[in-house]
């Protein structure tokens, strides 16, 4: 694990304090947890917008593909296919 020195704004510090108190964690653990959750959200949104493939998302999150699909579903991101993609695929399967 790397050691980093960072400046944290007051509102973010309050969030870390809040999670720390609520979950009975050390502040550093609370910060790590929130950072991970934030990154999972960021990756999920990038996937949802079609900026990442599921494979790239899994690699970024250091999870298997199966775990990534489950995590995304849990976060309400069930896929990233648009109507146009479905209609085009329909032509393939109908031909």
């Amino acid at each position: 694990m790397k050691v980093k020195s960072i400046r944290i704004p007051d509102d973010m510090d309050k969030s870390i304090e809040y999670v720390s108190r609520l979950e009975k964690l050390e502040k550093t653990q609370s910060l790590r947890k929130l950072t991970r959750l934030g990154f999972e959200y960021y990756a999920a949104k990038s996937y949802e917008r079609g900026k990442l493939t599921i494979r790239e998302t899994a690699e970024l999150l250091n999870l298997t593909l199966s775990e990534t699909i489950d995590l995304l579903a849990e976060m309400g991101v069930k896929g990233n296919i648009r109507t146009r993609d479905v209609m085009e695929s329909l032509k393939t399967i109908s031909s």
Binding site: L65, N80, V86, T92
Partner: protein, 157 residues
């Protein structure tokens, strides 16, 4: 119809319990890199779908290709290379970014939800079964994909 299948499509169909039905109707092949991602990596973490896919491979329900020649290539490039080398009709995936790439190089693709529609159209499953299958898959596919397929199932009746 000869289909090359990507990992996300394979995992989603497996999680929804639909893969066997689809494998009976289509000739499904996966690249060895996909096998590694789904079975080998999944088994280390105890994923149930990894065990199921491994059994399918052992029973030759799913064919694995590209063992030696493409072992150094990663998922998407290996998938495209194998598609170009083989006589496949389409590539099955549920990934928008990969689809953009496939579209740009003219590779036809099939979404997991459309397999259900196809089974219904071919009268292999009835409407109720198709709707149940779609509901199972709905946990893993986008709202757009779900809505269009639901509409198509309704439209036929």
């Amino acid at each position: 119809m000869k289909i090359l299948m990507d990992a996300d499509c394979l995992i989603k169909l497996t999680k929804a319990g639909l893969k066997e039905q689809i494998c009976q109707q289509y000739e499904i092949t996966i690249p060895n890199v996909v096998k590694k991602e789904v079975v080998d990596a999944g088994k280390i973490k105890g994923a149930l779908d990894a065990e199921i896919v491994e059994q399918n491979i052992q029973k030759a329900i799913i064919r694995v290709i590209g063992k030696e020649t493409l072992s150094r290539m990663k998922g998407d490039p290996a998938l495209i290379e194998i598609f170009k080398r083989g006589q496949y009709d389409a590539l099955a995936t549920d990934d928008a970014k990969l689809i953009r790439l496939l579209r740009s190089i003219g590779i036809p693709y099939i979404l997991p939800g459309l397999f259900i529609h196809s089974l219904y159209q071919k009268k292999i499953v009835d409407k109720k079964t198709a709707s149940n299958c779609l509901e199972k898959l709905s946990l893993f596919i986008s709202e757009d994909e779900y809505s269009v397929i639901k509409f198509l199932l309704e439209e036929k009746s």
